[in-house]
């Protein structure tokens, strides 16, 4: 492995790396605004200037102030190079800590803040803003300019999701490059020059493609902010939990940013994973956090005739156990519905229950009907765990999985006399599923949906932000996620609620803890050909 020296430390690099990328691989940050590992190099912010020491560095003649002589004297200084553009060669010696470099960083920082408004108290980027971090780390002096700053546009609506603030912009063009190179929809560009330079929309267009929210996250400062997240929370109050997006079968890695005081999820944010989503996420995925709080089922429900009665979750569970016991006594055939929306742990316990305790006649898989996929990230299957649920079913000998459609047929034909279903998601609407109302049906669900709407007994369970779990994505990669917020009172993850159900039926599955379930999960199949990502 070839190496080079950065600040006296030997670092390995891969052929073709620039200095900044090789340092980034090693976890060393060279300050930068315009460079992004997933975008092309623009080298326009000049923050990453470093000094190359090996070879024959070019020396520039300068005039330097000599305080002793009280006049300018002639001197030379090395020409600095942008670390984002300079390719690494074997044995290259680089320093990012020399006085010259520090002076350059301070000057760039002073320059970028020349016209910056005093916005931190009202800016959503405060706390995760590079201007703030770098000012204290690399400058710490007040600017020398005393005149009124240049004023530019503020609060411009760029589209349904993004607002632009011209005064905060540092013209790094990351957003321009992101839309052009990753989304291939060059809807943003730069206009004018010098200190009236600004980012504009293409004439007649809006920033309305499916990756528009990513613009907030590629923006290193507060120029592009998300209309959804605006003024909702301050980031230093938030904590993050590493998780996996539940939007589609790609399984983009994300952080769930939540407020620990109110236990509310405020946003999803992409988490780097070069083999899955690189650095990006789509709008629908990032907005899928709303499902954690909207349309939640927070109480159990029992139907008497056409009337629903709200009951405590434990009472609903008891009701469900009674229903299943009565059905077994009456010799009615049981149909079990797994969910492609739920974690493998949930599906596993349900499959185990169906096979060992309830003796299910048929097993089905409920899933959403799909959406428009693309070649960037979005998969046409908008269920996060179809692969995981299928693998769990196969592990329990349920090789052929029916769909909700075949379930309807089986109920109509009288082949199924009672239904136990997981999840809210189904391809059909509630009117289309009305046929299921003919038989007793138990629904374990986190949100309102077609399946719970036709059920006799509804047991509330946790969403995936409220539990530790596993999603298996389209490439067969099983990805674990961590809990962010606590479930509402009385509500448990589906796998724990199902274990309670088994206990109420007098059965013991020997799966008391998360480790027990995880150990029993099927080993993930060898990953299929990784899906092409842009």
């Amino acid at each position: 492995m070839p190496t080079f020296k950065l600040n006296g430390q030997d670092l390995a690099y891969q052929p073709g790396d620039t200095i900044i990328r090789a340092a980034w691989r090693a976890g060393i940050e060279i300050p930068h605004y315009c460079w992004h590992p997933g975008l092309s190099v623009a080298a326009n912010c000049r923050m990453c200037l470093v000094e190359v020491k090996s070879g024959r560095p070019m020396m520039l003649p300068i005039l330097q102030w000599d305080a002793k002589k009280n006049e300018y004297v002639e001197a030379t200084k090395p020409k600095l190079v942008p670390a984002c553009q300079q390719a690494v060669t074997d044995g290259l010696e680089v320093t990012s800590q020399s006085d010259q470099v520090k002076q350059a960083q301070a000057s760039v920082q002073e320059f970028l803040l020349l016209n910056h408004p005093v916005d931190c108290p009202i800016c959503d980027q405060a706390g995760e803003c590079k201007l703030q971090d770098y000012w204290l780390a690399h400058q710490t002096k007040l600017k020398r300019k005393a005149t009124e700053p240049v004023h530019k546009v503020k609060g411009v609506r760029f589209g349904p999701t993004i607002v632009y603030d011209g005064e905060r912009c540092v013209m790094c063009t990351r957003c321009v490059r992101f839309n052009e190179e990753v989304v291939k929809d060059p809807v943003l560009d730069m206009r004018e020059r010098g200190n009236v330079n600004e980012i504009v929309l293409s004439p007649g267009r809006e920033l309305d493609h499916k990756y528009s929210l990513m613009n907030e996250h590629v923006c290193p400062v507060g120029a592009l902010t998300s209309r959804d997240f605006r003024f909702k929370a301050r980031v230093w109050f938030l904590k993050a939990a590493p998780s996996v997006c539940g939007g589609c079968a790609t399984g983009c890695n994300d952080f769930i940013d939540f407020d620990p005081r109110t236990q509310e999820v405020q946003r999803l944010r992409p988490r780097d994973n070069e083999s899955v989503n690189q650095y990006w996420m789509c709008d629908d995925g990032m907005m899928s956090y709303r499902r954690f709080h909207e349309d939640r089922v927070r109480l159990g429900r029992v139907r008497m005739g056409a009337e629903f009665t709200d009951v405590a979750p434990t009472a609903a569970l008891k009701e469900a156990a009674g229903l299943l016991a009565a059905a077994k006594e009456g010799g009615r055939k049981l149909g079990v519905v797994l969910s492609a929306q739920h974690a493998s742990e949930d599906n596993f316990v349900l499959a185990r229950l169906a096979r060992d305790v309830l003796g299910a006649s048929a097993v089905y898989l409920a899933a959403q009907g799909g959406w428009d996929g693309d070649a960037i990230l979005r998969d046409a299957d908008n269920n996060p765990n179809r692969a995981g649920a299928t693998a769990v079913a196969a592990q329990h000998g349920f090789a052929s999985l029916g769909t909700t459609e075949t379930l309807l047929g089986d109920v109509a034909a009288g082949r199924i006399g009672v239904v136990l279903a997981l999840g809210w998601a189904s391809k059909e609407s509630s009117t289309e599923l009305a046929g299921l109302g003919r038989v007793p049906m138990i629904s374990f669900t986190s949100n309102e949906g077609a399946l719970p709407s036709v059920a006799t007994v509804v047991v509330p369970v946790a969403v995936h932000a409220e539990m530790y779990g596993t999603f298996t994505n389209r490439a067969g990669l099983a990805q674990q996620f961590k809990r962010a917020v606590h479930p509402p009172p009385g509500i448990k993850p589906a796998w724990e609620a199902l274990l309670d159900l088994a206990r109420a039926l007098g059965a013991n599955l020997n799966l008391g803890k998360l480790e027990d379930v995880r150990r029993a999960l099927p080993a993930s199949p060898p990953p299929a050909q990784p899906a092409a990502t842009a």
Binding site: V118, C120, P121, Q132, W135, L136, K141, L142
Partner: protein, 405 residues
């Protein structure tokens, strides 16, 4: 008690045999300053064994410090020795600055000396006054508190608060001195001397006072050193150790002052040492007022440490950023650990600080002088009478906030 059976020849030889008696003194006892419990084994009036139990005022000072920023330690530090909070402020500032490797400007050093010495006078006045009161001399107590109020008037004028000032800052002070500081201090000094003289006149030839102070609660030099005793308590045994002289900090090496030492290590010596120390503090104050520059910076000029001026925060982005970072994340003190020590009212106030490079302290250990002094209270009390506990414990000057943290 067993009945006396044998015939006694001489009535003078009669000794009443008695079993040891257990007695709880405190934690709710006026002379225990509200926070100490002593479990006594008494043989009549004589103390055979005593178990001193602190902890009733434990608030988790050290744990609490581990959850805020470095700057947020000050309000907690105020409440250590709440009789002289400014000395705690100065002690913690010096410790944090030692860890940062910075020194505050000269004017600030004088300012800290002046405020600190005023606090020391207030501390000693409280101790001596309360000690006298507990022996029945209420008038000197009121006189002492009268002077303490005058001292607090100056501190209030400077800091805005009479007791818990939270006035220290890492790298300086919250505000520069007021224009009238020197004038106020100079006017106060003769008043302090006058009242000290009056108090001495009242007490030092008073039979009741002398009988209960002289030869009571004796501490030996060797034991004091071995147990780590510091401050007036150590000096009363005849050891010449004052941090301000032995390891000068701030500008203490520029003042001409003496370290009073005692001879017997009894309550009386501790009283006298404290009284004399107040006089020496007055000398220091007079010299500090003469030497302190009238203008110049109070705070270090480093935006990584000091908050910017308020008007700059509202008008410039740079100051806004600095303010934001310092308040939200705190001062980033480089990783390391130091032990820093100053002379507080009761002795060596030490802070052992560990930083992991973040804005939150990793560990703040306070070496509380009176906790360490109190640890040998047992040795001073064994063999004494119950009534001797009160002057002895009083002259140890246990401050609950500092002892129990």
């Amino acid at each position: 008690m067993e009945p006396i059976e044998e015939e006694l020849e001489d009535e003078a030889a009669l000794e009443l045999p008695s079993e040891p008696m257990k007695l709880n003194m405190g934690p709710s006892h006026p002379a225990m300053h509200g926070t100490i419990r002593m479990v006594l084994d008494l043989d009549g009036e004589i103390i055979q064994e005593v178990d001193v139990q602190p902890g009733y005022l434990h608030r988790g000072f050290e744990k609490s410090c581990e959850r805020g920023t470095w700057q947020q330690v000050y309000p907690y530090a105020d409440r250590l020795n709440y009789v002289s909070p400014m000395l705690n402020n100065v002690g913690f500032s010096l410790a944090a600055e030692k860890l940062l490797g910075i020194t505050v400007p000269e004017r600030c050093q004088y300012y800290r000396v002046i405020l600190g010495e005023l606090a020391r006078i207030a501390d000693h006045l409280t101790c001596n006054g309360a000690g006298a009161m507990e022996l029945g001399a209420f008038t000197p107590f009121l006189w002492c508190l009268k002077v303490r109020d005058w001292v607090w008037d100056i501190l209030e004028k400077e800091t805005g608060a009479r007791m818990t000032h939270s006035f220290g800052r890492i790298g300086g002070m919250a505000r520069p001195p007021t224009a009238t500081l020197k004038e106020d201090v100079r006017a106060l000094l003769p008043e302090i001397e006058k009242v000290l003289m009056e108090v001495e006149t009242m007490l030092l030839r008073n039979r009741i006072f002398l009988d209960r102070m002289q030869g009571v609660g004796i501490l030996t030099k060797e034991l004091a050193l071995d147990a780590g005793v510091t401050g007036p308590m150590l000096r009363s045994t005849g050891v010449d150790y004052d941090v301000r002289k032995a390891h000068p900090y701030l500008v203490y090496d520029r003042f001409d002052f003496d370290v009073p030492i005692g001879h017997d290590g009894d309550n009386y010596d501790r009283f006298l040492v404290r009284t004399e120390e107040m006089r020496q503090s007055c000398r220091i104050l007079a010299q500090a007022c003469d030497q302190m520059p009238d203008d110049g910076p109070i705070n270090v000029d480093d935006p990584r440490v000091m908050l910017p001026e308020k008007h700059a925060v509202y008008t410039t982005i740079e100051a806004t950023i600095a303010h934001f970072k310092l308040v939200m994340e705190g001062i980033k003190i480089p990783p390391g650990e130091v032990y820093s020590y100053t002379e507080a009212g009761n002795g060596e106030l030490g802070f052992y600080l560990v930083s992991d490079g973040s804005g939150t302290p990793y560990r703040v250990r306070c070496r509380p002088p009176c906790f360490i002094n109190l640890a040998i209270c047992r040795d001073m009390l064994l063999g004494e009478m119950v009534a001797d506990i009160i002057p002895t414990f009083g002259s140890v000057n246990m401050i609950g906030g500092e002892c129990d943290r």
